[in-house]
Amino acid sequence: MAKFSIGMDLGTSTSEVAVYRNDRYEALLDPRTQSAIVPSLVAVSAAGELLVGQEALSRVDQPGFGVREVKRLMGTDATVSLRGETYRPEEVSALILRKLKHVAEVSLGESVSDVVITVPANFPDQAKAATHNAAQIAGLNALRLINEPTAAAMAFGVKNLEREEQLVVFDFGGGTLDVTTLEMVSGIMDVKSSFGDTKLGGKDFDDRMIDLILRKFHATGARTDHLSDVRRELKAFAESAKKDLSTRREAEISVARFGQKGGEMVNLEVRITREEYEDEIASLLDRARTVLKTALQSGKLRPSSIGRILLVGGTTYIPAVRDLVSEAFGKPGSTEIHPDLAVAYGASVQAAIIQDLISSETGLIVADIAPIGIGIDIMSDVGGQRMLMYEPLLMPNQKIPVMVERDYSLMSADQRELEIEILQDPTGKAKLATDAVKTDIIGRITDIPPNQSGNPHPLKVAFSYDLNGMIRLRAWIPGLDKSLDIGVAATASRMSDEQKAQASDRIDEIWKSSPYSRQFESLIRKGERLVGEKGDEAKPISESLIELKSALAEGNESRIETAGGMLADAIFDLEG
């Protein structure tokens, strides 16, 4: 049995890793920054070094040298470019996961492989598949993907097993807003509903800040035409101004020699008050309010019946967002579980449940749901017209896992082909196929022989939605060797095992260029020189060198750290 369990929150803006051991969870700190919060940034330094997390901050906004918010690209065919090389979003995410793995291994002094990773409640199926692939590329075994708000609630639940209350998780992260309602009863976390806006997050609040800074700067007569991507240049400043306004009434942004005025370079010096910023983000707050209202309606809950509102995600630091929550519920949101770390905590709890570190007899149990409805498009007769209708297979907020089997028929006896597309229905109200959201997960059956009986062939459809939130849909014509299989199969088709292995090698290669392994290079060179000079006297050094090299080859962070320490000690002893 595992001694500890690891959970990872792979976020849009920041990522975190937590461990569950000895009946409690804790966040693990990046050894270099001593912070639990690892910005989800990947960049390459001028020297060609890989930088992940905080170290990447200074380089990430140089076009072609860094990647931000890659999570928004997960599951798409978009690629990003890093120093002239093209990467899939999976590979960039794998680098962030690799960093989290490094953080965990250094902190724990043990190698880490089995983890639970969180995903937004409304993450599309392809994005979940891509996250699964990213874990594999990073050398991790994803025990489970779970919904972020559920994870955050678990972090609360595991500490409050005796409590019986309704709670709401208000998860406002870098990329998405999710409002989840749950009921805690005798150690069981019963998730009731989840509703969100996948296009509303901290990034949008940064964008508004950039708008405001630029408007104020341009109002002074300064121009920024010489900057090809002025918004990108301001991104980091906007983020920090936004953070400043969470605790102060006013933020100052100053960037030396940023604009030009009358042919001369001028400094950007802008002051922004909290009121100004709140006016700027008013429409975003309205959207958040709407989400909250809809979520409570779909959970059939009155605000007064809610015992607790857990604030989760970086965007909940914005005072106006907190006010919005207080207004809606008549009581302030709770930050008793760290808003930045709650999700990672909960992921480690889920891992502990799977790995039996938490007893199923006495510990926390979670009954989770599928937040969005899933269905297919079928042709149907509506008032004498053939119309493409949405056919639900899974309703929003249904308990998972789910398995259904349905009977349909083809449209005519001589139909030769059939196509099924998986559709999403976030609100549960879709009637027409066009009301639903396309997923581009499409399966086809071709070369269907005509049915000699003159009746259309029957068609069976079996649909399942597993605990990872992964979809599988099979359809077949009974009696014929004709079928399709989509969904989880799409995970495999998205990246083949071979592609994943190649990506994995590539990530290993890049990883070796990171300062985390480079830091040993000069040490190794010095050790090798001493072994050449001192011969037998340097035997402890040569032993440590062998150990360190093999640890580096293996990529085992904790062994590297240990062997590196041994080598440094041996050199110190000899020279001392």
Partner: protein
């Protein structure tokens, strides 16, 4: 099977909601998703039904009385097939007593009431249903249908339907169904049908038009609706509108000759119904449009029919002037009148004697037969055509060449794809113009042929005449009972759009003939 969901949760069917909830949470702990996903899934399925008061009640009803209800529904279905409405109502009521929340049974009951013309009960049932579950479009549209049916029934039973408020309610019901299902054209058509029943044709057209685009596209599947619009334009005498709709129908109709043949037959059938109702020029216009869709192979028969309609329509126009034209001897006018009446298929009885007598009287009478024939041919070409074989024969005897007369087909009607210019032809505005040479069939189709050769699948209105030999003539006549009713009466009852005019002028005319 009956209690399986309760068994799955380990509770009895009379368990309280709190007990069920406790059992559910206990079971989840015992069979957590991590350890027993399949068992966990089944527990959740049971929970999702039993945790909701409504779904639990309906599950209880079904599992307790499922078999009985099924048997009752079967019995009700059989009774409906035999149109034994009282029994069907009884069976459905029994089923409802067992499962009061079964919406589909209440809906069924409402329909059976409506079949039985028990409209207040039907409306009450559906109003109850739409109050209980206001989000099911089909219940609203059924309510609308029942109001429509009720209005129909009332008008058949002597009550003016446009005065009853039920059509307004019917529209409201269809409008609600439409709001719930804005892509279903049937609901908009329902509104349109209500307006049509209220004789508010512009609104009926407007709603039918919206129905066409309800599914986002205008295609051949909209044919029935377009056709309905065409008919509504006929009802409003909007010939421009008709022409436009026919154009639309033409553009959505695929080139498949079978489909085009079907469209042609629908127009032909409508023409024939209009003709039967006395709308002769309407019949001619619609018939012309039928030709637009008929391909060459089956065209001849249809053309024959349309030609006939056009002649009768022309004859109808000529009748007013003709009946008072004192240049013509009364027996000839009477003879032509009989021919006209026979052509329009009035309920004639056996009066070939009168026919023969009229013709004989004309031949025997004084006056210039040549002039009379000439006037008839030149000024009343359509009436002439109705008996052209008889007149031609006489003209031949009198050595009279009537070939230079006006073309009775010069009435301006054109099928759509044969129009020389795109400007729609409205009504017969031009008087018949002399146009040599007359391109006329040597032997015009007899009435019987014209009538008997409607294209496939057409049902003619009744009133097929009998062919009787006409003494000395080569024509077959359909004899009717123009004079079967006492002349002092209201004359001949003719239904249809132009019936009123004919009724009045005919009455006068008949009296004068008899008086003369």
């Amino acid at each position: 099977m009956a209690a399986s969901l309760y068994e799955m949760l380990g509770v009895t069917p009379d368990a309280s909601p709190a007990e069920i909830k406790r059992a559910y949470y206990n079971l989840i702990r015992k069979h957590p998703p991590e350890k027993e996903p399949e068992r966990y899934r089944l527990i959740n399925e049971a929970w999702s039904v039993l945790s909701n008061e409504e779904s639990r009640r309906s599950y209880d009803e079904t599992s307790l009385y499922g078999d009985e209800v099924e048997a009752l529904m079967d019995a009700a279905r059989r009774a409906e097939e035999e149109e034994n409405w009282a029994t069907a109502v009884q069976k459905l009521k029994m089923a409802l007593a067992l499962t009061p929340t079964a919406d589909y049974i209440l809906n069924r009951l409402a329909l059976v009431y409506a079949y039985d013309n028990r409209f207040p009960e039907a409306v009450k049932s559906l109003e109850k249903l739409t109050t209980r579950v206001p989000t099911v479009p089909v219940y609203w549209s059924n309510l609308g249908e029942i109001f429509l049916r009720q209005a129909d029934w009332q008008s058949e039973n002597g009550q003016e339907k446009e005065k009853t408020p039920s059509l307004e309610k019917g529209r409201a019901a269809f409008e609600t169904a439409y709001r719930l299902e804005p892509y279903n054209q049937k609901h908009l058509l329902g509104v349109s049908r209500c307006y049509k029943a209220e004789k508010n044709y512009p609104q009926a057209i407007a709603y039918a038009r919206r129905a066409i685009t309800a599914d986002g596209e205008v295609d051949y599947s909209d044919f029935d609706t377009l056709f309905e619009i065409a008919f509504l334009h006929v009802l409003t005498d909007d010939w421009d509108g008709l022409q436009k709709v026919v154009g639309e129908i033409n553009s959505v109709t695929p080139s498949d000759p079978e489909i085009r043949g079907y469209v042609a037959s629908r127009f032909a059938r409508l023409a024939s119904e209009l003709f039967g109702a006395g709308g002769y020029s309407d019949a001619a216009r619609i018939g012309i449009h039928a030709l637009t869709f008929q391909d060459a192979s089956a065209r001849a028969e249809l053309e024959k029919m349309v030609t006939f309609y056009r002649y009768v329509a022309g004859a109808n126009e000529e009748m007013g002037a003709f009946s008072g034209d004192q240049r013509l001897p009364v027996p000839l006018r009477y003879f032509a009148y009989l021919s006209y009446m026979k052509a329009v298929d009035e309920p004639l009885e056996d009066h070939d004697d009168e026919f023969q007598e009229a013709w004989t009287n004309f031949l025997r009478g004084d006056g210039d037969h040549r002039l009379a024939l000439l006037i008839l041919r030149m000024e009343y070409p359509h009436l002439y055509w109705l008996q052209d074989n008889v007149y031609d024969k006489l003209a031949e005897q009198l050595k009279l060449d009537l070939r230079q007369g006006p073309d009775p087909m010069g009435d301006g009607f054109r099928p759509l794809n044969m129009a020389e210019d795109s400007a729609p032809q409205r009504t017969i505005t031009k008087p018949p113009v002399a146009k040599p040479p007359v391109a006329r069939p040597v032997t015009g189709p007899t009435l019987r042929e014209s009538r008997a050769t409607l294209p496939n699948n057409l049902t003619r209105p009744p009133n097929q005449g009998l062919a009787l030999p006409f003494a000395g003539g080569v024509l077959g006549f359909f004899m009717g009972a123009v004079f079967a009713t006492p002349l002092g009466g209201a004359g001949v009852v003719i239904t249809g759009i132009i019936g009123a005019w004919i009724g009045v002028s005919l009455g006068k005319w008949l009296r004068r003939i008899v008086g003369g």
